[in-house]
Amino acid sequence: MAVDAGRYALTLSPRTRRRKLVNLLMQALATLAALSAVAVLAIVIVSVAQRGASALTLDFFTKTAATFGQSGGGVANALVGSIVIVALATVMSVPVGILVALYVSEFAPPSIAGVTRLALDVLNGLPSIIIGIFVYGLLVIGSGQAAWKGSFALAIIMLPLVARATQEVLALVPSTLREGALALGASRWRTVLGVVLPTSVGGILTGTVLAVARAAGETAPLLFTTSIAANAVTWDPRQPVLSIPYDIFVLSESPDPADHARAWALGLVLISFVLVTSLTARLLLVRYRKRLEG
């Protein structure tokens, strides 16, 4: 049989070869892009760890800042301040966030649910400094700064995060569970509080932890609400307190290398907390979702 050798040859035509080459090139570029993002993450973490680790001593955590002109000293007041602010913000935002999510997924008619969801998404997209100025105008003007006012600002940032996370979990609760409860004669509110909410508690918890991790690193809302503070440890939320992110912000603007060293150490503390909590929460969330989806 006379076969056209050129047509069935195993070598590629120039056109095909070019297409394959372009394909390979694009795949390489996409891989490179993903690698570069991971590399930036690694570079940031390593730089912070390298520069911050040496300053982390027991004194660093238990003492307040050294008075002007002296070296040493710690960040105990900022550490305690951050704990107070974030804990209070969590207490303020989590109940409201859960209630909003319950309304949207269990009670609201579709149109109102849509409006609420849109409002939450827009709230989530607002620059955090705007929220700081809002709380400054609402609570600080006239009566001064206080830790709880900073917490209020952080709570506004956490609210859409908690509500969104809760909503997503509530949507995963199988409708058979709800129907089962209703069919047994349970009323709506007993179904929600006794069946739906307990089933989703794991997801709500991880969502809350992610929101806490985000709030712990926020600086902008605290500038106007709790930044002018005494250099002493206080657990009183009615006093203005320092916080870790605000301290880093101030120290990073200073020309003094000793201040930079403290900023790096604080950065390491903050980044470790944020990364460890958000990583754990994410892993738990994945496991929890798998179990719920069966």
Binding site: A119, F134, W264
Partner: protein, 321 residues
């Protein structure tokens, strides 16, 4: 609610209790939802109320006036709007192709086992607090940009006005790079989900017709997700426009309008973060909040546009299935 046929009727007390409980929980959750919506309105109202003295004094001319003179109480927003525009669009210009590429890698190329790991690493980038990124930006990235990147750009591309001028450790270019790092995880994770939502039969159809992977991406995935990707970019823009802390740390608080990316500058948000304790006169405070009002309007427009596109996109594709 309970329509279960039962031989015994429920005790009257429980029925009343249930009706009250239903009403109470409905009301309580509804009040919380209403509070969230009202909060949004309250934020806008309060910002405009605080800015009102400056709004009535300067009017809209504030937007087009240059300079921030605290001695003579003359304020204008043009420099800052320019700085915001340059840094945000610069960051988007780098972040958009990068995010699409990362999204494609994670949805099409990455080996199955590594997929979720790499995806969560990219998302962890978004978890780094902006103040830590700013610290890194001014002390590590800044010196690299000022001593290596900018001289290199100047040597090879100095004929372009963007790369003219003398290199500096703090400035617009550093801010653009830091913002890029903040925008990429947001945009790329949205892109990845969009790309994963493309129906497999469309992708396989293209491959069965002999398309290479890249041709399938260009011919099927990108056209299918175009609107969604534009919403992802808008979400990134919203983030870049509103970032105050990290930008303040790296941008160097300059003024004026320049073509060069090497010079120091300021954005709406960074000006607010710089001046938080420095404002003395009432007019100065009102002018600062005027900046916040401009920022609020921009970010509301960007976010609403993004949400509008997202909602329409999901409708469109829900209709097709």
């Amino acid at each position: 609610m309970s329509v279960v046929p039962s031989t015994e009727s429920l005790p009257e007390r429980r029925r009343v209790g249930d009706r009250f409980g239903d009403l109470f929980l409905h009301g309580l959750t509804g009040a919380a939802a209403a509070a969230a919506v009202v909060l949004l309105g309250a934020i806008a109202w309060k910002i405009f109320q605080l800015a009102w003295p400056a709004i009535t004094k300067y009017g809209l001319a504030f937007v087009t006036r240059q300079g921030w003179d605290t001695v003579h109480n003359k304020f204008g927003a043009l420099d800052l709007i320019w700085g915001t525009a340059v840094t945000s669009f610069g960051a988007l210009l780098i972040a958009t192709p990068l995010s699409i590429a990362i999204g494609l890698y994670l949805s099409e190329l990455a080996p199955r086992g590594a997929r979720t790991v790499i995806a969560s690493l990219v998302e962890l980038l978004a978890a780094i607090p902006s103040v830590v990124l700013g610290l890194w930006g001014i002390l590590v990235l800044g010196p690299f940009v000022g001593e290596d990147l900018e001289p290199w750009l100047h040597r090879h591309l100095g004929f372009i006005p963007l790369f003219s001028g003398s290199p500096e450790n703090a400035g617009i270019l550093v801010a653009i790079l830091v913002l890029t790092i903040m925008v990429v995880p947001i945009t790329s994770s949205v892109c990845r989900e969009l790309f994963l939502s493309v129906p497999a039969e469309l992708e396989q159809g293209a491959l069965a017709l002999g398309a290479t992977r890249w041709e399938m991406v260009r011919g099927v995935i990108l056209p299918y997700t175009r609107t969604g990707v534009s919403a992802a970019v808008l979400l990134g823009l919203g983030r870049a426009v509103g970032e105050a802390i990290a930008v303040t740390q790296v941008i160097g608080a300059g003024h004026g309008i320049h073509w060069s990316l090497f010079v120091t500058g300021d954005t709406l948000a960074s000006k607010l973060a710089e001046q938080y304790q420095g404002a003395v006169s009432n007019l100065q405070i009102a002018s600062l909040v005027y900046l916040a009002a401009i920022l609020l309007v921009i970010s509301l427009l960007v976010n609403l546009a993004a949400q509008f596109i997202v909602r329409r996109f999901s409708h469109e594709h829900a209709g097709q299935n």
